[in-house]
């Protein structure tokens, strides 16, 4: 058992954000956490990453309580990708990816750096300065840095990824999720990823966990989690769910009848101040 979470509670300034949460993650397994905005996904990940103090419960990582791990050991076995990393200084892509590596001569880092930059399709950017890159490019650079941290680790590895593909185009999203799945299956990495794209999650994850108000609403196989009833209850999303022959569900959002953009009586209240706008519409 790579990660065993039991009765976990995380408070933020006195407010309970994650409550009584329990789940397990095996080596070689890819678990994607879904849920509406504010459900506690990032807070859960930050709790596991050591950024927030855990209020209640127990987290065992490779059979040892998380709090008993030293920073240094943990960094060798657990890598974290935050939701946002902003770089204001003139660092090159290669320099940032290298930050994930332990102190070692550049000649030793270089093969790993080259491999990762190739895998994440950033080799052509290696000498570019990070502040000038697009959001999606920066995200791939950060992911390469996160992977560089555990690339040479012998033994258990846990990846905590908070919306690691949120800025990527569909092709790169697919590329990253296939890579993560391959790392889980071939190298035994445990992958815990927060995501919003239901179909992407359903296609690549072994299991899904749907968070709702800080608690696990349902978890299991994608086809068991992503049902029309569950999506309506947790997201308030009206969607059609098709079961594909390949064995995973496809979620198609429907035109929501409840959203009435042009409710006549209240139109005057929201009428634009500039009359020309109204003419145009």
């Amino acid at each position: 058992m790579l990660l065993h979470v039991d009765g976990l509670g995380v408070h933020l300034s006195g407010k309970p954000i994650v409550r009584d949460l329990g789940f397990q993650l095996d080596a070689g397994e890819m678990l994607v956490i879904l849920g509406p905005n504010g459900a506690g996904k990032s807070t859960l990940l930050k709790g596991l990453a050591g950024e927030h103090k855990m209020g209640a419960g127990q987290v065992m990582f490779v059979g040892r309580a998380l709090s008993n791990w030293s920073n240094r050991d943990l960094a060798r076995h657990r890598a974290v990708m935050p939701q946002r990393v902003e770089v204001n200084f003139p660092l090159t892509v290669e320099e940032i990816v290298r930050m994930g590596r332990p102190p070692e001569p550049l000649s030793k880092s270089m093969p790993v750096l080259s491999e990762l930059m190739e895998l994440l399709d950033i080799t052509h950017l290696r000498h570019r300065l990070a502040p000038g890159l697009s959001g999606g490019e920066q995200q791939r650079v950060q992911l390469a840095r996160v992977l560089a941290q555990v690339w040479s680790t012998a033994g258990p590895v846990l990846l905590l990824l908070d919306e690691c593909t949120s800025a990527l185009d569909p092709a790169h999203q697919q590329q990253v999720f296939s890579l993560l799945r391959r790392l889980a299956k071939q190298r035994g990495f445990g992958v815990l990823a927060v995501a919003h794209d239901l179909n992407l999650a359903a296609r690549f994850a072994d299991r899904l966990m749907l968070l709702h108000q800080g608690q696990s609403y349902i978890s299991g196989q994608p086809s068991a989690v992503l049902t029309e009833a569950v999506l309506a209850a947790v997201y308030g999303l009206s969607a059609r769910v098709l079961e594909l022959d390949e064995g995973y569900p496809l979620v198609i959002p429907q035109d929501d009848a409840r959203v009435s953009a042009y409710a006549e009586p209240s139109l005057s209240r929201f009428a634009p101040l500039n009359p020309s706008c109204r003419q145009a519409s």
């Binding site: 050591g50 920073n71 974290v80 990393v85 200084f89 003139p90 320099e95």
Partner: protein, 355 residues
């Protein structure tokens, strides 16, 4: 990799990222430091030629005045100027890394003002309220007070700017304005109540000067300055992680709190000791690390040593200029640096606004 050519001659190696190659660039700064040092010991009210310096140094020239000027006036001034410049630049680089903002100069966030207020308080109130402190600390009373003034202000600015684990840079700079104003008011108040004699030594603190540098000053400040310079490289890797965000420091396995405390201590110690012997000298900590980052990159393993060398060189150079422009009198070095640094800072603001 390719050669940057000037008039057809290869002068500098440029790496793939369009930056100067690190080794040759460090050698170049070292060369500049040496050249500026030679100019510094030879220029002033009593000019010494390079030949004179060499002769006096070797003991071949038996000129008592020349020997006194060289060994008791110019050399301590050179050593102190170089150390202070190096420490100010390195402290600036450390604070900028810590706050993740290239504008976090020790002067801007009030560290220098806090250190100088504490020093001035010891000068003016040493005979009255702070008499006990003078008895207790003896000759160390001033530098220790400046040190606590400096590191206390860093801590204060840090605490004000931090909310829910994040450091707000806007708040930090605003807090710096407030801290500078408060320290300035305190300094003004103390100036108001000071005697003529105290006033003379006060002016030295507020404008910054290397003019009275003696070997005693060097002996008093050098251990702290050197300690701060030698400790700084140990922070290079965690400071690199800070550039990606405070949370990333922990993810990469460094102790975030320990790093922050060490950084604040090293910067506070360095700036405090520097202010204690040379008064308020601004802009070195802003200008030097910025130029280094632009030309050599932002990794702290190069930024820290290169800033130290370049900061020392810049301050010694500015000190030369301060001695020469209004000779035989001399401008306070703090004033000189403000003349150079102020316009540079404006340029920096304009460039970042356009970019």
């Amino acid at each position: 990799m390719y050669w940057l050519k000037w008039a057809g001659l290869p002068v500098m190696v440029i790496d793939g990222a369009g930056r100067l190659a690190k080794g040759p660039a460090l050698l170049m700064i070292l060369g500049a430091a040496f050249a500026v040092s030679v100019v510094s010991v030879s220029s002033g009210a009593y000019p010494l030629s390079t030949a004179d310096i060499l002769a006096v140094w070797m003991g071949d020239l038996d000129d008592e005045v020349a020997s006194m000027v060289l060994f008791d006036v110019r050399l301590p001034r050179l050593v102190l100027g170089f150390l202070v410049g190096a420490v100010l630049a390195v402290s600036g680089a450390i604070l900028q890394g810590l706050f993740r903002n290239p504008l976090a100069d020790p002067g801007l966030i009030g560290v220098s003002a806090g250190a100088s207020l504490a020093a001035i308080a010891v000068i003016v109130l040493g005979g009255t309220w702070l008499g006990g402190w003078l008895d207790l600390a003896g000759v160390w009373a001033l530098p220790i007070a400046a040190f606590f003034g400096g590191s206390g202000t860093v801590l204060l600015a840090w605490r004000i700017a931090r909310r829910a684990g994040q450091t707000s840079v806007a708040t930090l700079l605003l807090a710096g304005i407030a801290i500078n104003a408060i320290a300035g008011a305190g300094t003004g108040l103390l100036t108001f109540y000071s005697s003529d004699e105290e006033l003379r030594s006060l002016t030295f603190w507020t404008m910054g000067s290397l003019g009275h540098a003696s070997w005693d000053d060097v002996a008093m400040a050098a251990p702290w300055l050197l300690l701060s310079l030698c400790a700084a490289p140990f922070l290079a890797r965690p400071l690199d992680a800070f550039l990606l965000g405070e949370q990333v420091v922990g993810h990469l396995g460094y102790n975030t709190d320990w790093t922050k405390r060490a950084a604040i201590l090293i910067a506070g110690l360095g700036v405090g000791a520097a202010v204690a012997v040379s008064g308020l000298i601004g802009f070195v900590g802003l200008v030097v690390p910025h130029l280094v980052r632009q030309t050599l990159g932002a990794g702290h393993r190069i930024v820290l040593p290169a800033s130290a060398l370049a900061g020392g060189t810049l301050l010694v150079g500015a000190d030369c200029l301060a001695r020469v422009v209004v000779a035989p009198a001399e401008l306070p070095i703090g004033l000189m640096m403000a003349l150079i640094g102020g316009p540079f800072f404006l340029l920096l603001l304009l460039r970042t606004r356009i970019a």
